[in-house]
């Protein structure tokens, strides 16, 4: 299902295959996973390609096993990943909390489907909270990147490996069934980031050096306070340096539509349609969901009359926009529970109702 274009460097490929291919190009040495729709193509691709390249592919017995295998692999300093979807990412929450405490560069690809519970296999953005707030215990953050096109599935997979290693923090590529299943022309290129030196902490065998232990257990209360302070100092640096977003037509906008991931495609079209009707609409798309572009939204709120978030869930990111804006102007929600995003025409008519 991945085909070469001979006239230029582009290939037509599915989001899932694009992610898998990008992971391989990023230098992912180990893949662990258990199949689940709508991301099974990632494991399928890896099962062939990783063996061809003499890298490690393990079809894990469960998602619990997959995340813990990934923790084990990255603790040796190599790049490794797992991928899954919604109800099965739930099973990985304990592992993600541990990986955060252990400061390990786990990369997780989460291709969202309908929930809660077993839900269904259609596209959804219902795991915004799961990814950005976490279901594991304790104070922690995962770096979360949200692609909106198949090309961005490639770009942000590269970035996920880089940021995970740079900050020694688990990083999530948060896609959805629509992106995973659709095909678009993409361009692959060499991994554009510098390789991170992991030799100061990786478990590579204690020959000629002191033994190291990576663990999250701190039996003394004071030690844990020191650790948390250090961890959150790291998050402050991430928030300072790694926020990424896209904005269009916001400088004179009365109303700004905020949306992430595949839904933002239709929202961008809706913004253009509103402009054609003479409504001063702008478009704002967080690309990093953590760190969230709160500062920029706060700046915009000085001149904007209203924000509207558009999401395929019951209203999750809307809360982060409200926190960022902090009452400066109203923040409304246009949503759909699950499935392909509302059409641009529907978004336009629902926004006209709100004006």
């Amino acid at each position: 299902m991945t085909t070469q274009c001979l006239t230029n460097k582009k290939v037509l490929t599915k989001g899932n295959y694009a992610i898998a291919q990008a992971a391989i190009l990023a230098g992912c040495q180990c893949y662990f996973g258990y199949p689940i729709t709508p991301q099974s193509e990632i494991g399928e691709f890896m099962s062939g390609k990783m063996q061809e390249l003499k890298r490690a592919y393990v079809s894990a017995e469960s998602e619990l096993a997959a995340i813990n295998m990934t923790i084990g692999a990255v603790s040796t300093g190599v790049k490794a990943m797992t991928s899954s979807s919604s109800c099965a990412v739930s099973l990985m929450q304990e592992g993600l909390s541990y990986a955060t405490a252990d400061q390990l560069p786990v990369v997780l690809v989460s291709v969202m489907r309908g929930g809660p519970g077993l839900g269904n296999i259609y596209p959804s953005q219902g795991d915004y909270f799961q990814a950005t707030k976490g279901g594991g215990n304790g104070d922690y953050n995962l770096i979360v990147l949200a692609p909106s096109t198949v090309q961005e599935c490639v770009d942000l997979t590269y970035k996920a490996f880089y940021l995970a290693q740079k900050y020694r923090n688990p990083t999530v590529l948060l896609a959805d069934g629509l992106l995973g299943q659709m095909m678009e022309p993409v361009e692959f290129y060499d991994y554009p980031y510098p390789e991170i030196d992991t030799s100061s902490w990786a478990l590579t065998g204690a020959k000629n050096r002191e033994a190291r232990i990576i663990r999250s257990y701190a039996p003394l209360a004071d030690d844990q306070c020191v650790f948390l302070k250090k961890l959150f100092e790291k998050y402050r640096i991430i928030e300072e340096n790694e926020v990424e977003w896209e904005e269009i037509n916001t400088c004179d906008a009365d109303i700004v539509l905020v949306s992430f991931g595949s839904t933002s495609r239709n929202v961008k079209t809706a913004m253009k349609m509103l402009r054609e009707k003479g409504i001063k609409a702008g478009f704002f798309r967080p690309i990093t969901l953590y760190p969230f572009p709160s500062k920029r939204l706060k700046e915009l709120s000085k001149n904007v009359k209203k924000f509207v978030t558009v999401e395929v869930n019951m209203g999750q990111m809307v809360n982060d926009v409200r926190l960022a804006v902090n009452g400066a102007c109203p923040v409304e929600l246009v949503n759909k529970g699950v499935g392909a995003p509302p059409s641009a025409a529907e978004i336009v008519s629902r926004i006209e109702e709100l004006i």
């Binding site: 299902m1 037509l12 729709t37 659709m182 392909a340 059409s343 641009a344």
Partner: protein
């Protein structure tokens, strides 16, 4: 900005998704923006399957659109399901081997052709999907035969390359099918 969308629909096994992939490749080769999106869900063997291809001069505005400019219906169930979704002035290309020649609307263009039978005449019933693409290329005038031929070469995997000449033959038979004769 020109943006057109296509739905290709039929039974599971008729090569509907592959035909869409070939079409999307052809648009990519012509330097268009393009998105291919399949119906996926709790599908059953023998059930209907479809995919949508959206082609644009600019960023693709959205997928999973409410209506379509061109629809290829390879069986009766697909005709029944999609005939109401065609835009006024749009086209439906119907496999009359497996669907009745009825015209429930008078604001769209119909192209009835015995696509399965024509594919059998080519020598392989599996060529139904590619033969339909030939018809679509002619009716739409939006994709060239040479782009589609190159797209077939892109999509057909190395171990199936022996089928490339037959696919190209089917494509051409579809393309050269006399549209005017079917417009009566």
């Amino acid at each position: 900005m020109t943006e057109k969308n296509f739905i290709i629909a039929g039974f599971g096994g008729q090569g509907v998704l592959l035909a869409g992939e070939v079409l999307a490749n052809a648009f990519m080769l012509a330097e268009k923006h393009v998105t291919w999106y399949p119906s996926y869900g709790a599908e059953m063997r023998g059930g209907t399957v479809n995919c949508e291809v959206v082609m644009s001069d600019d960023d693709v505005s959205e997928v999973n659109k409410a209506d379509a400019d061109f629809i290829v219906a390879l069986n009766q169930a697909s005709f029944d399901k999609f005939v109401s979704k065609i835009k006024t002035g749009g086209w439906i290309i119907v496999n009359s081997t497996l669907a009745k020649e009825s015209k429930p609307r008078n604001d769209i263009n119909y192209l009835f052709a015995p696509i399965t039978k024509l594919a059998e005449n080519v020598g392989n019933v599996k060529m139904t999907n590619i033969l339909a693409l030939g018809l679509l290329a002619k009716a739409s005038n939006l994709v060239s035969l040479s782009s589609l031929e190159q797209a077939l070469d892109n999509v057909i995997p190395p171990h199936r390359k022996n089928l490339l000449p037959l696919n190209i033959k089917a494509l051409k038979i579809g393309y050269e099918y006399d549209l005017l004769a079917t417009q009566v």
